[in-house]
């Protein structure tokens, strides 16, 4: 999780003139909905990052700088916080994020086989994205679905009692447009 030692020298420098990643609508929502609830602006950092990630699929460096400017904290501090949390993607991820639970209850019921099969099917390792940018595969800690293990999340839809057949079925059945797959009942912050 913490202390990534990544080489960021190759990171693209923010360019002037491009439309801001933290849009005016986002700023408005943050100002109206979030600022009144907290005594400091910094407290809104995590919701702002959630918002950016939800909108762009990941959080580019330029967006971190923009958030910093908006909340009055230095870009380094924003990076410091953002890089701490596993949830935030500071590099692009696929349209579909497959998160397989690797917790003990799932492991007892064969989560390793699940991961292996997905790896083989998509030809990726954990943490990697397929060449066409459609899938990213990661393992994560307990999804709280231990009663119906093994489980995985694809974007924000939960799949349980996984079997090899079920995995093939699910992966083959995903629409090309990932937005169509989004669970409409879940309203993300």
């Amino acid at each position: 999780m913490a202390w990534p030692a990544e080489d960021r020298r190759a990171t693209a420098v923010p360019k002037d003139g491009e439309p801001p990643l933290l849009t005016d609508e986002m700023k408005k929502e943050l100002t109206e909905k979030y600022f009144p609830r907290y005594p400091t602006r910094r407290a809104v950092l995590l919701p702002a990052l959630h918002m950016l990630q939800h909108h762009h699929g990941w959080i580019p460096m330029r967006a971190l700088a923009e958030v910093g400017e908006f909340l009055g904290i230095s870009p380094a501090e924003v990076l410091d916080t953002a890089s701490f949390y596993e949830e935030y993607w500071l590099k692009p991820k696929g349209k579909y994020l497959i998160q397989v639970c690797r917790s003990l209850a799932c492991e007892i019921y064969g989560s390793k086989r699940v991961t292996e099969q997905i790896k083989k099917k998509l030809n990726v390792e954990c943490g990697e994205t397929t060449r066409d940018g459609k899938f990213t595969l990661v393992e994560l800690e307990c999804l709280g679905s231990c009663g119906t293990a093994p489980a995985m999340l694809i974007n924000d839809v939960l799949f349980e009692d996984l079997t090899p057949q079920k995995i093939n079925q699910v992966l083959d059945g995903l629409p090309e447009d990932a937005h169509k797959f989004r669970d409409p009942t879940v309203d993300w912050q």
């Binding site: 999780m1 400091t40 919701p47 596993e86 003990l104 800690e141």
Partner: protein
């Protein structure tokens, strides 16, 4: 909202419910939902309206019915005789017609899930009393089962100090794991300096194998809100936060809906029940860091910083969020508060053991027949949970160990199965109550591998702030890897034990201090498995891949 309005809502809702001859409850908690219980509910809805039974039969989505392994679960309850309810298991949309047809006759035999079995009869439900009964998306149903009556009672008839006394007398202890006295914590916050105080609900459930909080939030979100509001009144806070894992989308959705409804009804917000008591609740989404379940890390995270713990004291009860006195309780702790107020502390103190009062919700998982959510009185023998409620070990296998408390807990072997489940007894065998995850393992699980699993968890979830935890967990994980792949030596084992002491004594927060527990308990009860890996280069359970050539003995 006035008291009269509250009781009016309850009466209207109760009368409306009485009008229906039957109510069909479909579990729409995450477990059943993922096996398409929503389609079952739609099919039942259609079937009922096709036959024109809308006025006599009500189909509704409810929270967790408990037996997740047999989902989707459906319960058919005649309004006049609630005890004559029939439970159906593994229901599909195609079964809808048969279920509706059976309303006036005998139940559909092939689907019946017997409820006179220990899984249901041995449980004692307080926190889960409404789970599977009410529709979590409707505040009216919660109010109809005495919801928010506790809050009303508190703000209209009790002084804050009386509320704290009542909670203190009930003997309620924190359900997040450590078991600190809830009343004592509340009184510390109440005595805290300053006029700004906060109440935080810790719903950052991260222990592997634990899903109690998720289920409570999905099945009965208003209960948690009510508990928080009562706490806020008692300690003098006006702002509350629920810190919930982003990985629980359904729980987040239900909570948001519940907060909106409560605000609209005037049960949250300003001048609750017409007195000068203001309390609002906001949701904070976590961002995938286990350590944020630690209270000081959680506070840092809400403040918008890295979720790293800080040394205590000062405890959050004295100086927490933005330096203000802050009450942090777990979901289940708050969920226990409304019934304690409604039924009185003596009632609650009458359940459980001398030092551990009330009930505890456990998430049964692993190699056990009935996986799912259970609530049992404190002090129940572990054996009863595994064999009576859990239905024993499937496939004719033998029980090896019960893991409680997640990465901070330990593995309890067969010989201690008759011990009562309470805070003290679990601590005596080196484990902890924890938040309530209970993973059952049979003889195909290697205990060294289990210890390695939890150490890997701690290693990757260590926040990196203090050296013993950051480096120690990595070293211990390496040593356990060597032992499980057959290249371990006796010296490695010595070093491993030494590191256990170092981490316990010198880590900054609970994560590092308790990280050695899985190793220590497996060493205590399953030393022979370590020896087999090191000396004979074999894995008794046959689950580890030994790379080193087996020595000829």
């Amino acid at each position: 909202m006035t008291p009269e309005e509250l009781s009016k809502i309850a009466t209207i809702e109760q009368e409306e419910q009485q009008q229906h001859k039957h109510v069909i409850q479909v579990c729409v908690a995450a477990g059943c939902l993922s096996s398409h219980s929503d389609q079952v509910k739609d099919a039942l809805d259609k079937e009922v309206s096709k036959r024109g039974l809308e006025n006599t039969c009500h189909v509704k989505g409810v929270g967790c019915l408990g037996l997740c392994a047999a989902g989707p679960l459906v319960r058919v309850q005649p309004t006049a005789k609630p005890d004559a309810a029939v439970m159906y298991q593994a229901v599909t949309a195609n079964d809808a017609a048969d279920i509706v047809s059976s309303l006036e006759g005998p139940p559909v035999k092939r689907l019946v899930c017997p409820t006179n079995v220990p899984f249901f009869t041995r449980q004692k439900k307080i926190v889960l009393e409404n789970s599977g009964i009410i529709d979590p998306d409707r505040i009216e149903e919660y109010i109809a089962v005495n919801g928010y009556a506790g809050l009303l009672q508190v703000v209209s008839t009790m002084r804050p100090s009386e509320v704290i006394d009542e909670v203190m007398r009930s003997g309620l202890r924190g359900r997040g794991g450590a078991g600190f006295s809830t009343g004592l914590k509340w009184s510390t916050v109440a005595k805290g300096r300053g006029s700004t105080k906060y109440v935080i609900c810790n719903a950052d459930e991260g222990d592997p194998g634990a899903f109690m909080d998720r289920s409570v939030l999905e099945s009965d979100p208003h209960r948690v809100l009510e508990g928080m509001a009562i706490a806020a009144y008692a300690v003098g806070a006006s702002q509350g936060y629920i810190y919930v894992r982003a990985e629980y989308p359904l729980a987040v959705k239900r909570l948001k809906a519940a907060i909106r409804q409560a605000e609209r009804a005037g049960l949250l917000g300003n001048n609750i029940f017409g007195i000068t008591f203001n309390f609002s609740i906001d949701i904070r989404l976590g961002a995938g860091a286990f350590v944020c379940g630690e209270e000081t890390a959680l506070i840092a995270s809400i403040e918008g910083k890295r979720g790293t713990p800080r040394p205590r004291p000062p405890y959050p009860a004295e100086s927490g969020l933005w330096g203000c006195p802050t009450l942090i309780n777990n979901v289940e702790t708050f969920a226990n508060v409304p019934p304690i107020i409604r039924n009185g502390s003596a009632w609650f103190a009458g359940i459980g053991t001398e030092k551990s009062k009330g009930t505890k919700v456990f998430a049964l998982a692993g190699r056990v027949t009935n996986t799912g959510l259970i609530e049992v009185p404190m002090g129940i023998p572990l054996r009863e949970i595994v064999y009576d409620i859990g239905g024993g070990i499937p496939d004719g296998k033998k029980l090896k160990a019960v893991q409680t408390g997640g990465p901070s807990g330990g593995c309890i072997p067969e010989q201690h199965l008759d011990m009562p489940v309470d805070y003290e007894s679990l601590a005596k065998v080196g484990s902890i109550m924890g938040s309530g995850g209970m993973i059952i393992m049979d003889d195909t699980s290697c205990m060294v591998d289990v210890a390695k699993f939890f150490m890997e968890f701690c290693r990757s979830e260590s926040c990196g702030k203090c050296v013993p935890c950051r480096v120690g967990t990595a070293q211990m994980h390496d040593l356990l890897c060597r032992i499980t792949d057959g290249s371990g030596t006796a010296d490695d084992l010595t070093l491993l034990i030494e590191l256990c002491d170092v981490l316990r004594a010198t880590s900054l927060c609970g994560l590092g201090q308790t990280a050695p527990n899985p190793v220590l308990t497996t060493l205590q009860f399953f030393k022979h498995e370590y020896d087999a890996h090191i000396q004979k280069k074999t894995c008794p359970a046959g689950s580890c891949t030994i790379h080193a050539p087996a020595e000829v003995i």
